[in-house]
């Protein structure tokens, strides 16, 4: 299968989870604290922290400690759309190549 460089791999791993995509979508509207997100997604603080850490590791989210509150904002602009699209594109391309292989096998049998 396709291997990604670590940075790209992190991005796609981060985007592979629906909760994390939800968090990105939520932060796309406005920044939020970890506890806001925990309420929004009906999760424990620990659970949300884990997701945010993964997103932060992929550079999709940045966090800043403001007093006792950790505020999360969207990381590099538009990366989430683009990364998701490129990932989708790659999967489409692989599926297309699978079909091309099947087609060539099928037509080979028909021709012989």
């Amino acid at each position: 299968m396709v291997q990604f460089s670590p940075a790209l791999d992190d991005t796609f791993a981060a985007l592979s989870d629906p909760t994390r995509r939800g968090i990105l979508e939520r932060l796309g509207r406005a920044s939020a604290s970890i506890s806001d997100l925990a309420v929004n997604f009906e999760m424990t603080l620990t659970g949300i922290k884990k997701h945010v850490q993964i997103l932060e590791g992929a550079g999709l989210v940045t966090t800043e400690k403001l007093g006792r509150v950790r505020q999360c904002t969207l990381g590099p602009r538009r990366l989430e759309d683009e990364a998701a699209w490129i990932d989708h594109y790659r999967r489409m391309l692989e599926a297309r190549l699978d079909r091309l292989g099947e087609f060539l096998q099928r037509s080979k049998r028909e021709r012989s």
């Binding site: 396709v2 790209l8 079909r99 091309l100």
Partner: protein, 154 residues
């Protein structure tokens, strides 16, 4: 098989596949509309609206699936049978996100063919940078023209 990040602001996806078919046959499957219609849609119905396989020619394919209708299009940049095809690729759902796809077919000499697909994406970061520098240049040129005009009026 690998995918990698190249220069800043660019992303490259590279996939290699070996097909048990001669190179001419693979080339034909990729460039003959009647054959493309049989695999490109990944099992979905495919309508080939345009397919002008020549340098500068336009292609537009529409996939009809249970999830909706998706249009894809681009232009052929290089058509060198039976070894190299370069085209741009754009999906209606992400207008402006153009990838350049380069497909290279290698005859393995045993009736098999290696197809290498390289897709280069220019990311927003780089496009924004280009746009900004282009605008700055344009603004500077306008100012220079204005300066010349003002100098004449003096």
């Amino acid at each position: 098989m690998r995918a990698k990040v190249s220069a800043a602001g660019e992303r490259e996806i590279r996939i290699e596949r070996i097909f048990d078919a001669p190179r001419e046959r693979v080339w034909q499957a990729m460039t003959d509309p009647a054959l493309v219609a049989q695999w490109w849609g990944r099992g979905n119905r495919l309508v080939i609206e345009r397919m002008e396989v020549q340098r500068g020619g336009h292609w537009r394919f529409v996939e009809h699936s249970a999830h909706g209708v998706h249009g894809f299009e681009g232009r052929y940049r290089e058509v060198s049978p039976p070894e190299r095809l370069v085209q741009t690729f754009e999906w209606d759902g992400m207008p402006g996100h153009v990838a350049v796809e380069t497909m290279t077919l290698e005859d393995l000499g045993d009736g098999r063919t290696k197809l290498t697909t390289t897709s280069l994406f220019h990311t927003a970061e780089e496009r924004d940078g280009m746009l900004k520098s282009g605008m700055e240049e344009g603004v500077n040129q306008s100012y220079a023209a204005l300066d010349r005009l003002l100098a004449k009026l003096d």
